[in-house]
């Protein structure tokens, strides 16, 4: 897949702590039922986001349907230098997935 769906900005400070802010395009559709319990909308959600630093997994985030549409996530990475590669990947409950790499500037 293309990487249009994942955007990220990585800012690293003098001590090597990076603040990563990422926006993932995804509907994060919760299950919706009417008052009688009839299914109106089936769940379509990202189940897991994983983050790598130079290929090593450093963070996993398991998600439920309470995560807002188009997840906007910020987190910290330690021991980061300029030129390092931050990878962000997700997979959802319908077997779709996407990933993108960002070089620390």
């Amino acid at each position: 897949m293309t990487t249009q769906g994942i955007r990220a900005r990585v800012r690293v400070d003098a001590r090597g702590t990076a603040t990563v802010r990422t926006l993932i395009a995804h509907p994060m559709q919760p299950e919706e039922r009417d008052a009688g319990g009839v299914l109106l909308e089936a769940q379509h959600i990202i189940e897991e986001v994983s983050v790598t630093l130079n290929g090593e997994t450093v963070l996993t985030l398991a998600c439920g349907q309470g995560m807002s549409a188009n997840p906007l996530l910020t987190f910290a990475l330690h021991g980061v230098s300029r030129g390092d590669e931050v990878g962000i990947a997700w997979r959802d409950n319908r077997g779709q997935s996407d990933s993108a790499d960002f070089t620390v500037a």
Binding site: E31, E32, E56, V58, A62, G64, G66, S68, A69, A76
Partner: protein
């Protein structure tokens, strides 16, 4: 069912107690995604599925900024900080949502707080954070008022 299938089934069944024991040896949240916890319909069930009967201490060392009154329950921003060292797990639970477990973070030594995310809230409710640091579980919570809930579906 022929004889071969029967033997195969018996073989699998005999492995079951062994596999169950192995799973029991590790903290259950260590799995990437604990399906039972995400499908649970009450906060109590979520905590049971993730942490069993481990004790959880209240703490002031985990703080989260969030609006006291959120206009729109579809996207309520949370910013979570902590002064605790060595947090390897962070769980976000919206106690009154139909599916209370929202997020479960697993950190390595190379990642950590602060984190920010946006969550759906079905209505005004207590949002609970559970963090694990050095094997101990800590809990912090906050009431968030919601003007327009996320259609009762979050």
């Amino acid at each position: 069912m022929n004889r071969r299938d029967l033997l195969r089934a018996a073989g699998c069944a005999s492995l079951l107690p062994f596999v169950t024991t192995l799973v029991g040896l590790f903290p259950r949240v260590a799995q990437a995604r604990v399906v039972a916890a995400f499908e649970a319909k009450t906060a109590r069930e979520v905590l049971d599925a993730l942490f069993g009967d481990a004790s959880i201490q209240p703490t002031d060392a985990i703080t989260f900024s969030a609006p006291d009154i959120a206009e729109n329950g579809a996207a309520v921003p949370l910013e979570i900080r902590s002064t605790l060292e060595g947090i390897d797990t962070l769980v976000v639970v919206a106690t009154e949502n139909p599916r209370p477990l929202i997020a479960s973070y697993r950190f390595s030594g190379h990642s950590g707080l602060p984190v920010e995310l946006r969550i759906r809230l079905a209505g005004s409710q207590e949002v609970v954070l559970i963090a694990r640091a050095n094997g101990q579980l800590y809990r912090s919570s906050r009431l968030i008022q919601v003007t327009i809930g996320a259609c009762g579906v979050a």
